[in-house]
Amino acid sequence: MNHSKTLFVLLAFAGLALYPLMAGNYGIDLVTKMMVYAIFALSLELLVGTTGLICFGQAAFFGIGAYAAVLLPAQTDAPSLLWLLPACVLAAAVYALAVGALSLRTKGAYFIMVTLAFAQMAYYVVHDTPLGGGTDGIYLTLKPVLGTLIDLDKPLVLYGFTLLMLAGVFGFLALLARSRFGRALAGIRVNEQRMRATGFSTYPYKLAAFVISGGIAGLAGFLFAVKDGFVNPEMMSWHLSGAVLIMIILGGLGHLRGALIGAFAFALLQEFFKSEAVFGDFARHWHLGLGLSIIASVVLLPRGLVGLPGQLRARLVGRSNLQGARHEAV
């Protein structure tokens, strides 16, 4: 990462840390949601952007983390964050291990569809069995605490805690990318055949990435459940898997900060199209605007928002080159 990129990330986190000073309840809730999305998007970035594995079932791990947060604690005492958080992450990681072990035997388009189908399997388990409370979902009555220091029932505490988690995940993934393991994942993305030829057994690397990614998605799910105090099967629906893919593409693949930018941009777009102040009654049909902007972003922003400055620069330079060429011709 060069200096301007480091500076961008530092400024972004500083901005997030200072934000509660000037925001109201609505703003704090919205940005908490965005940060949870960002953690979720980072988890997928590790698979898609770093390793080149297009997983279309990431919502399953998110949902399992969320359901674990509701189902694991006894409903009498506020559960301790100390065991509940690792348990939720572990639950998602275990499912990721099972799904990864199977679906990594396949490649390309198969992998996309198989991960989607496994996510759908988890969806049906919570949707159709008594375990998950059906379509109505389950309420989270007592929110996790850590002694008297951290009470996630307080929005501001939750905001701070989410920010801490986001920074932790970001830092962890940035370190991972620089490690031998991260280099191996990048090698797999570029040319898996060659990696195998140089003596890497690529399957365990991919599986490890899959499990780590599932765990991080579980963490995001946990935070989301705690924020809303509520889980329902929609958290595992393939629409959410699609949405998180869009976040990282919108932001720009292959960059951690792309996932960050994409998650925030996506949530803002969603908020914009849902806004009754702008669209009136039509806000009910916010999917239409969202869908059209997704199509537009695929056509217009092949490298995502991260690539936008470069794209604009190339445009300007390209135009002046063209003019130069014309002058020569004359």
Binding site: V48, I54, F56, L102, S103, R105, T106, G108, A109, Y110, I112, M113, V114, L116, A117, F118, Q120, M121, Y124, V125, H127, D128, T129, W238, G242, L245, I246, I249, L253, H285, H287, L288, L290, G291, L292, S293, I294, I295, S297, V298, V299, P302
Partner: protein, 293 residues
């Protein structure tokens, strides 16, 4: 279980499996030939079902025609829509990565779903079985069976057979198969590959819409109906082997039976059974039952 009930469930499973095959065949053809993962394929099925609901009165008042006229008008509209969609959106996607295809077609799903909501609303509608196909038919001594379900199975069988013949026996089919293997070579032989792709896409869409139209009286018409069909079709395509029509047929029938009998014997787990089946098959054959060449 009673023998007659068992046989009736078998026929139901067959009908469901054949219907799924129709939808899945379009999905796997468009992937196998054009290399495009089309998430919006389920929406085409939904569009078909809504056409069956919304077109029938319009067709009846303009042409005075009945059920078959509605089907014909629906398919013509679908093929036109397919032609335009291919030109406007999908022709961009051939050279793009899978990821971008997934994204753009996901965007299209959202658009179709909202347009549906704007045009026909969010209510669940029933569609009536046409009068001449209503009622039941005695099959042997044991049982009676709804005529309309037999009709659906028949339509699916005829279409499947027709696709098979076009694909293997005609010049068009030959060009399509060649185009899926080597696009440049076919193009340099003077065949308009762009036009060919547009035809394949429009045909795939037409078949999905037709499937939705004939299924509407059996399954009724509801928002989000495309989603569940799409995912099941993905499972079928994966189990059968991407791009393989034979595989899609076998997998669709398998899914039809597992799902139908799952609902009878294990109603709690019916939704999951299909995916368990998929997991088992992939453990055994990661590339599906029939890997297309």
């Amino acid at each position: 279980m009673d023998l007659s009930i068992f046989l009736i469930q078998c026929l139901n499973a067959l009908q469901y499996g054949l219907l799924l095959f129709l939808v899945a065949s379009g999905l796997t053809l468009i992937f196998g030939i054009m290399g495009v993962i089309n998430l919006a394929h389920g929406s085409f099925y939904m569009i078909g079902a809504y056409m069956a609901y919304a077109l029938a009165p319009v067709v009846a008042s303009t042409f005075g025609g009945g059920f078959f006229a509605t089907l014909a008008v629906g398919v013509v509209l679908a093929v036109l829509l397919g032609y335009v969609l291919e030109w406007a959106f999908f022709s961009f996607l051939y050279e793009r990565e899978h990821l971008q295809q997934v994204l753009m077609t996901y965007g299209l799903i959202l658009v179709f779903e909202e347009l549906r909501s704007l045009l026909v609303g969010d209510e669940v509608h029933g569609v009536e079985v046409p009068a001449f196909l209503a009622g039941t038919l005695p099959l042997g001594e044991l049982m009676t069976y709804p005529v309309y379900r037999l009709f659906v199975s028949g339509v699916c069988l005829v279409l499947a057979l027709g696709m098979y013949l076009v694909f293997t026996r005609t010049r068009l089919g030959m060009m399509i198969r060649a185009g899926s293997t080597n696009r440049e070579m076919v193009q340099s032989l003077g065949i308009d590959i762009k036009f060919l792709y547009r035809v394949v896409f429009a045909a795939g869409l037409g078949v999905a819409v037709l499937a939705g139209m004939v299924a509407a009286p059996v399954s009724s018409v509801y928002p989000g109906m495309g989603d569940s069909v799409l995912i099941i079709c993905f499972v079928i395509v994966v189990i059968g082997g991407i791009g393989s029509i034979r595989g899609a047929l076998l997998a669709a029938l398998l899914i039809g039976f597992v799902d139908t009998f799952g609902k009878v014997f294990l109603p709690q787990a019916a939704g999951v059974l299909v995916y368990v089946l998929m997991a088992l098959i992939l453990l055994w054959k990661p590339d599906g039952l029939f890997k297309a060449g």
